[in-house]
Symmetry: C2
Subunit: 291 residues, 2 copies
């Protein structure tokens, strides 16, 4: 049980964490800060936070649990702004989709206080950004990846594990590097491809007409293209090398498929498609518990 | 009201059409044929068809409405097999995702009987192929594209419009060429990309581990990669030129995105992502009626 949650970045992720903690009875009050005052105000109006703070530092003041939930490129500046009030007993976490860059920023800024920081990435979200889409159940039944450092305090790591477990998450631990390699493959590249594909369709001469004909396959394939552009700008830049490596693998397979199409090799094409189809049909999303 | 529906290809699409027609009270009995006798048998066992025919020709015998619902490359051979029993009063339709190739096949085979054929493409489906996934509501609330020819009989065209409308579809008419250009963009290319992407992730050294970490974004982005490989083999080959042209557009945008990533141009990246994000957020799937 915590006394006060300080949320820095009152958007979909931070707002949902605040709602979930309240719903689980794990926190008495929530103080929130967002770069845009209107967002903080909206979060308060919606009951996502109890008190609007005028700075990140003020959101940390008096909090025994702090969540960083702004775009990842703002991590270093935010940590600098709050480090003076970070107590050794505070549990400090983030929810960033990249981990190596966040950990590097924490190393540079936190010094002796590095132990309180437990880097976290909950595998949850939706295409509708913003605190108005926050919901208490966003994390329920999802995986959360913690990427603790050698310096991470064992007590804080246990606290972090307990909090996410209490929200209905399955907690996994990985190194920041392994995390970033894996999520370049299963999350960052598909976002890049979805953004690229939607733009390519929409920005052609008949694009507007074509879009009126698109069906459920298109709807699901492009859902993530509606994701928050500032969040994804930061993720794609922070994990650029891994994303590029995954893009290269993707392009190689696309080249191969187009080669067999060009040569009208129906059998080879079917074999390649069947491999993907059977693999995807067998795949199941990792979940914390049956729903 | 029809006396007998002959379904050639008792899979997801043909089976769902049979169920929908029965549920709407538009047909007295359904005779079905599939290339694989076990599929026909299963369709009968599931109550999707009333009678299993031993050939395509026998499925047409006595039918006043006939639906071709096998992979598109089989159209010409199927039409050759059934043309002797095609009566001028029969409504003959297909459900293929490509239209120029199907129309060409019909022109070559049907001769004077071409007028009975109304090429149709219902914008519906799901990733689970097979008659066991057929459902009476698959077409409800969806668009269906008819691509009539100058030779198409006006009575048959009206009948086709009435049937799909009765199933809850919005009926649109286009030329086969415009249809294929549009669906290369909004359907065929995303399927190709989803197949390529899933294979690229799965077939790398850590692919199996990565897949256990994938979340809801991955799930939706790759749903269509589980589609039927024989159906998509035929579609991609039949509409190869248009799909390649769309792939080129997609690759150009992907190249651009990667260039701005490589040059760490955060502002340009955000602008490109925002354009896609806002466009996708505003897009709504065309539906026949609010649901």
């Amino acid at each position: 049980m915590f006394n006060q949650l300080g949320v820095i970045g009152c958007g979909l992720m931070g707002g949902s964490f605040a709602l979930a903690l309240k719903k689980a009875g794990l926190v008495k009050r929530v103080v929130g800060y967002s770069k845009s005052p209107s967002t903080t105000e909206q979060a308060k109006r919606l009951g996502v936070i109890d008190t609007a703070a005028e700075s990140a530092l003020l959101a940390v003041s008096g909090s025994d649990i702090v969540l960083l939930a702004m775009p990842v490129a703002a991590t270093e500046a935010t940590l600098k702004a709050i480090r003076h009030l970070i107590d050794p007993k505070v549990l400090l976490m983030d929810v960033g989709s990249t981990k190596a860059d966040v950990v590097d920023a924490a190393r540079r800024v936190l010094g002796k206080q590095l132990g309180v920081f437990v880097p976290a990435h909950p595998i949850a979200g939706k295409e509708s950004a913003g605190v108005q889409h926050a919901e208490a159940t966003l994390y329920h039944g999802r995986q959360v990846i913690l990427t603790p450092l050698p310096e991470t305090d064992a007590t804080q790591l246990q606290k972090a594990t307990d909090v996410w477990s209490a929200l209905g998450c399955q907690v996994l631990k990985m190194t920041p590097q392994n995390h970033d390699a894996a999520f370049a493959a299963v999350s960052h590249l598909p976002h890049l491809l979805a953004f690229a594909y939607f733009s390519a369709v929409a920005n052609q001469p008949s694009g507007r007409d074509f879009l009126t004909l698109a069906g459920p396959g298109f709807r699901d394939f492009t859902r993530i293209a509606a994701s928050d552009p500032t969040v994804w700008r930061d993720i794609l830049l922070a994990n650029k090398a891994e994303v590029m490596a995954q893009s290269k693998r993707f392009r190689d397979v696309l080249d191969l498929l187009e080669q067999v199409m060009q040569s009208d090799d129906a059998q080879a094409l079917e074999t390649l498609l069947r491999q993907a189809s059977e693999g995807r049909a067998q795949w199941q999303m990792g979940v914390a518990r049956p729903r």
